[in-house]
Structure formats: C-alpha cells, structure tokens
Amino acid sequence: MIPRHDWEAESLRAVGLTADYDEPVDLVDYRFADVPAADPSRREVLKTLGAGLMIAVAADALNAQEPARGRSPQRGRRGGGGGGGATTVAARVHIGEDGGLTVMTGKVECGQGARAEISQAAAEELRVPIDRITLVMADTGLVPDDGGTYGSRSTPSTIPAVRAGCASARALLVGLAAERWGVAPSSIDVQDGCARDEKGDRKLAYADLAADAEAAKALERGVSREVALASVASWRTMGVSVPRPNGRDIVAGSHEYPSDVVRPGMLYGKVLRAPSFGATLESIDLAPAEAMGGVVAVRDGQFVGVAAASTSRAEKALDAIAATARWSTAPHPSSAELADYLRTHADGGIPANPFADEVARAAKSLKCSYDVAYVQHVPMEPRAAVAEWEEGRVTAWVGTQVPFGVRGELARAFGLPEDRARVITPDFGGGFGGKHSGEHAIEAARLAKEAGQPVRVVWTRAEEFTWAQFRPAAAIEAEASLDDRGKINTWRFLNINSGASSVRPPYRVGRVDARYVRSAAPLRHGSYRALASTANTFARESFMDELAELAGADPLAFRLDHLDDPRLRAVLTEAATRFDWPNRTKSKEPGKGVGLACGTDKGGFVAACAAVSVDRDAGTIRVDHVCQAFECGKIVNPANLLNQVTGAIVMGLGPALREAMEFSDGVIRNASFGEYRVPRFADLPTLDVHLLDRPDLASAGAGECPIIAVAPAIANAVHRACGLRIRRMPIRLPNAKEEA
C-alpha cells in the first residue's frame, strides 16, 4: 500500500503538470440585453440520489468551485472548471441502503475510456466486482468538479482522487466492523464488497454501513489524504482490459448522446452565422420567420436565432431572415499568406538567435523554417445542446469537455448564480480537445428562454468546420550548430503562435534557447490532441534528421547519441528494433523510404517508425506501415490503451498528409468532409503497436502523446524515398492533387 499523497505528487510530477494546469480556449462572448447581475453567494443543494446516505453533493461541488468570473472573456482565457475535486467521501461515493455503490466524477466520457478506467479505480479500492459500480459522470448538480477533461489528466489526477475517495469509504467499512467485532482493523479484510474477520465468520457489507447512522456521518467527513491505496501488485480490476461499461447500449443504438436528448415540447433551434469572420450584423428583419407560424425568432445583440417544431422548418425560417440581413465585413488574412502573416505578426518580432556567434564559428550549422496548418477536430458528433428553463433555472444537456466551465458560461451569459445553471454531459461523440466551451449551450438556452419551451441546437457539419475552435497553426524557426565531432552544441527553436508544449528538446544539445512567441492568430483557437506538441515535435524531429544528415550519421544513432532520458531511449530502441530499422534503411527500392521520430508529452513517451511509398509523378504519398512504441507508466487498461494509441496514429495521418483549413476573405473554403479529407478505412497502414508496461511508474494519460511522432516519421520517410524535404504539415508533394 502506498500512501495516496505520494501517488498524487508522483503522478503529477510524472506528467510534468502543475495542479492548476489549464488549457486555453477562445470563448464566444455572447452579450445579451437585460442580463441581471449574478449573485454568486446564493446556493441551493440538489437532493436527487434517493435513499441511503444522503449527502450534500452539490454543496460540496459548489464549495470547491472558483468564484464566478467577470463577463469579459479574452482571447486565450482559461477554459474554466479548474476543479477542486471531492472534499468529502460522500461527494465521491454514495452508498445506498441496498448496498448500491454510486461513484461520482466531473470527468466526461467522449471515447477516451474514462468511464471504464474510473469504474476500475472505484471497484479496485471499494473491493467489489466492477459491475457493482454505477458511475455518474459530468452532471454539475451531482458530481464534484474534477476539472475539465483535457491535458491527459484523468489518469494521473482524477483516478488517484477517485481511488482515495473509495479507499476512504472502504476504510470506514473496516472501521465499523472493527468496532462492532472488537478486533483490530488490521485483522479485517475486504473482499467482494464485504469486510470479513480473520476466520471469515463475520461479515459486514456496504449496505450495513449505509444503515448505520453514526457511520453515515463519517462519510460526510473529508477524504483522508493518508488513506492507503491498493499497491499495483495487488490490483485485480485495474491493470486489466475492462470493456466500456455502456458498450452494449452503443452497439444497440440506444445510448443517448447530447444530440439525441428529447424534452417534452422541445423545439429545434438554428443560429444565424456571420457570412465571414469579423462581420458585424447591422440590421435584419425577423418578420419573414415570424410570419411562418410556429416559429420563434429572436435577435439579441449580435445573436440571431430561430426555433421551430422541426429542423427543416427552423432552417427555412433562418434562410428567410438571413436574406434580409445586412452586414459590415472586416478584412481577414487568407491561408495562402498564413506562414508570412504569423511571422510578421510575432509578438515583439522574431528574436535574434542568442547563439549567433557560436553558429558563425561552428564546424557546421543549419537553419530551417517549418510551417503547420490550422486544422479542425471534426468530432463525429457536432456540438449539440438541449436547454430547458424552469422557474428561473436552466438545465442544459451539453456535449463538452468542461461541464463546470460551461455552467459558468451559462451563468455569466444569463446573469445567474451558478446554482441556477446545471450542466449534464451524457457520454458524447468525440472531443479531441475541441469541445472546451459552451456557446452551443448558450444558444440553446437563449432560444429556450424566448420560446418558453426546451430547445435543441445541433451544429451542422459546416458550422462545426467554420465556427468551432481550430488547432492553431504554427510557424517554427529552428537553428543549431554542430561541433567538430558532429555533436549539437547550440539549439534555438521558436514556436510562433501555436504553443509551448514540447518546445524544449528532449536531447542533450548544449546551450538552448527554446520558446513560444505569440502572434495575431487569425482564427479562433483552442486545444487539440497534444496541441502544440504535434507542431513542435514535427519540426524538431524533421530538423534532427536534417542535422543527422549534416553530421553524416544514421538518424537513429544520431538521436541515441544525444539522448539521456532512459524512458525515451527505451521506446525509440523498441520501435526501431521491432521495425528492423538497420535492415530497412539499406533498401534502395525506388519511391520507398523509411523514417523515424520520437518525443514525449504529458508523461507519455513515444517513438514511431514509418514506411512510405512516394509517387512523384502522381504527387501521392502512401503510408504503408507504422510501427510505434509507447510507454505511459503502469497501464490501467491495456485494451483501452491500445485503442487510444492506434486511434491517435491513424487520426494523426490526417494532419500529417492532408488536413489543412483553407480560408480567404474570412470564409472557410473547405468546410465539408468532401473537401476536407480525414482518414478513412482505405488509408489504414499496417499497424504495429507496442505498449511498454512499467508497473514501477505512476500511470500517465494516453489520449494525446501517441499522436505526435507520426507526422515527422512520415516526413523523414518521404525524404528518404524521394530526396524531397518537406518542411510543412500537411506533408504534400509540390504537385499533389486535391483528392477528395
């Protein structure tokens, strides 16, 4: 047994995150008229879990939250919902009089496997079979705020917190049994949900704990920070492949996603979008919509929307009024000029290389620029929300990665104390770091308020492509010098616009100047799987290959020569060995090439080898084989991890080879699956994934890191196949054709 506080500290250290880690997102600042000032001091407590140990769950969740913020969102402001977690045992686990165990978390499930893994954690510490656990996720009225679901934090941060809460409940069961039987707690074992004495004669179940009024009070005490968690060696439910608990509903088509929620009398809403970025609405006539009958139309500031009994009727109403709208437009840069634009707008200009003297004196040196395009997340389920008002309270079912943050957005938009807004997030259809905000919930709520009926808003695919936040584009400047033994002795690396993650090299490179410089981002931006790590790793690992060539070294040997971190060395060696790197680099088959890359992000370590076929005449690149090794400490759920890693590799092929937002005059020009090509079945390479399990190390998350090495491995393979060095992502040949 390891004391829990050690686990938490170790876990967070392992992922290189601080306890207040947050991700940037540009929020949509809807400003409505007649919004009263909120009174954040008012609190109400929901009691909805039924008989048993009744608990002030919502009160706990409220106590943990930050005070309401002002209503002036700025670019790059935090996504909200930093998360205080559960402060009492009862806020984490509810024990019914029938012994039913309901575990609560503010995390969401959107395909990454949190529902299975958090259930495993709870079952492990409560010592019950996993099917005894009912996991309530992401209902701000019921659950503690565990922070937004991002930054690969569920594994290192929430899982230990859930384990601590459940272990505390187990300790209470042991304590009660010890007291009743007059024996030492250490002589009691908990198995299958029952405390037993040494001989196994006496048993005490969680239901007995729930029936004991004194014990019930103890549950309302704080989660012990000293409570011992099950050691890895004793794990039964954690560390094994547990399938998604609601998988049957998914294959049966009965799981209710946010876009499936139906409320009595619900209408379907549509929101008017500007014809181009930065355009301002000057005037509009709502009469054509109102004349249609059964249509609610509203204009409030820049917000214009309609609601009707069906989506097509709402669309017709919206089209009718859109035709009357007058807009003033604003100039907007185009994607064609993006690379220059980001550099010329770099905050404070592009700083000079502080090692210019060393570079001038060096045996060899190299300077390269790399560019990474804007991309969209394109989750399969577009943004969806259903909102309903009752007696001045709003309840919203919302697809979002930050339910508590969205509760705050709703409260600010409508001038409510936060306890008058409740956000429920059913398991939804994909996030990938793209659903960090709640403008769709505000849209539904504004329309529902006007209509006096619940309203569902589901964005169209085109809206999702245009108005959701983008993964930021990057312009990267790299320069390094080599000494006369071919070792890197100075390294400068600037990321302009996209962010700081993985901006520092994992290599031993002498003197380092590596940083992130802001720019005037032309598009709304926010997170994405691994965010800037993808851009930074693409540039750095491409640059490492170029330096290896300059030094006359093999790319694998050159990396290992500069690499101390044993965990990164281990995955790199594993991938290269499994791929048979030394032999495969000898092949001289025309148009074929292999490449490799490695990196680390949020406590994960990854290396990929790729084999490609390049057809210079046709302008095509085909990825034939990806062999990837990944390590993120002790594996919590091997099947889920394999799903995450495989999914990340294949998803990563998109931005690596094709995905890029095209825009001009403030309009996205490829806002459809027909024009923005995402990976499909036919793009599948042979996949070879090797997961390294490290029971001696704390578990880190895996939703992000496995995506970062794919693109540079491909760029390096393309260079070996045809001699072309493409310093741009997506990696496309000069004569590439659009292939939708």
């Binding site: 959107c110 395909g111 990454q112 496997g113 399938p243 998604r244 998988g247 049957r248 998914i250 294959v251 049966a252 088509g253 009965s254 799981h255 209710e256 996603y257 876009s259 499936d260 139906v262 379907y268 249609m292 069906s310 989506t311 097509s312 009727r313 017709k316 394109v378 989750p379 399969m380 389920e381 577009p382 398991d427 939804f428 259809g429 994909g430 990938f432 589901v458 169209t460 695919r461 099947a639 799903n643 995450q644 495989t646 999914g647 990340a648 590799i649 294949v650 998803m651 459809s672 699956f673 027909g674 995402v678 990976p679 499909r680 079945f681 036919a682 599948l684 996949l687």
Partner: protein, 158 residues
C-alpha cells in the same frame, strides 16, 4: 415549404405512416418525428455514413434521402437490427472487439457492415475496406471495425 403528405412504409418490420413535408430527409423524420435517434447526423452531405439505414436491404444515406422515397419500401434502422433482445451477429462482433471509442459512428458502421455481409458473406479484407470506406470514424477505430466485420463473417484472422 411543401404540403404535408402521408408516407407509408415498413419500419423495422412494422407498418408506419409519417405525415410530413415529403422533402424532409428520412434522417430527420426518423429522428424528430418517429423518435428513432439511434441513426446519427454526422454531415448531412452523404460523406460520413453516420446516418446509414437499410432501404429494401441496401445501405443508403438517410441524410440525403427525401422521406418520400421510403414510400412503400422497407426501412431498417439500428433499432431494428437486433433480433428482439439479442444482438445481431454484427452488433455482437462490434461489442466483442470493442470496435469503437466514442461510438457515434457505430450505428452507421453496423448498418453498413450488415449490408456488406448480406451481399458478400465472406469478404476479404480488401472487400471489407472497400465496402466500409464511405463510413468515417473520427476516433479512428478502423482496425477494430475491420476485426469486427471479419469476426461477424466467421473469420478469425486476416
């Protein structure tokens, strides 16, 4: 807006009448009028397959099909794929292989795979990939889906 008409068709084995604007998509009528929300909207442009249903046993994109085109035909949605309470072999194979992450594409994948296996009961991997290629999974569970289709076809490995 067109005048509402009564469209009669067979839905998941039962006679059904929907009185609606005949130009509305079958997807919207299924989801909004008939309460069958298992079929998903993913794009509305016939590009992703999330809205797949069987029309006379053939896979169609319900987002692009005017509801009137169902007149007199049989329509099967994900809700009609199972045999009562027991999952169909394709559904069971998806569950056994864990062939999904968020699961939002899954209904469309299962419908597409059902149509594929009806036409080619023993598909090769190349036929699975070609047959499923019009369905998108953004979580990129493609390898698991290929395994699930193989399993449903009674094949063990590639």
């Amino acid at each position: 807006m067109g005048v509402d008409v009564a469209i009669r068709f067979n839905l998941n084995g039962r006679p059904q009448t929907a009185t609606t604007d005949p130009e509305r998509s079958l997807l919207e009528v299924l989801r909004e009028d008939l309460g069958l929300v298992g079929t998903k909207y993913g794009c509305g442009e016939g590009q992703c397959g999330a809205c797949s249903v069987l029309l006379e046993g053939k896979r169609v994109f319900a987002c692009r099909l005017p509801a009137s085109r169902a007149e007199g035909k049989s329509v099967v949605t994900i809700e009609g794929i199972a045999n009562g309470d027991s999952l169909s072999p394709v559904q069971q194979a998806f569950l056994d292989e864990g062939a999904f992450q968020c699961g939002f594409c899954t209904a469309g994948m299962i419908v597409a795979a059902t149509a594929l296996l009806d036409e080619k009961p023993k598909p090769t991997d190349a036929q699975i990939i070609a047959g499923m290629n019009r369905n998108i999974c953004r979580c990129c569970s493609y390898p698991g889906i290929v395994r699930a289709v193989r399993r449903a076809a009674g094949r063990k490995e590639g």
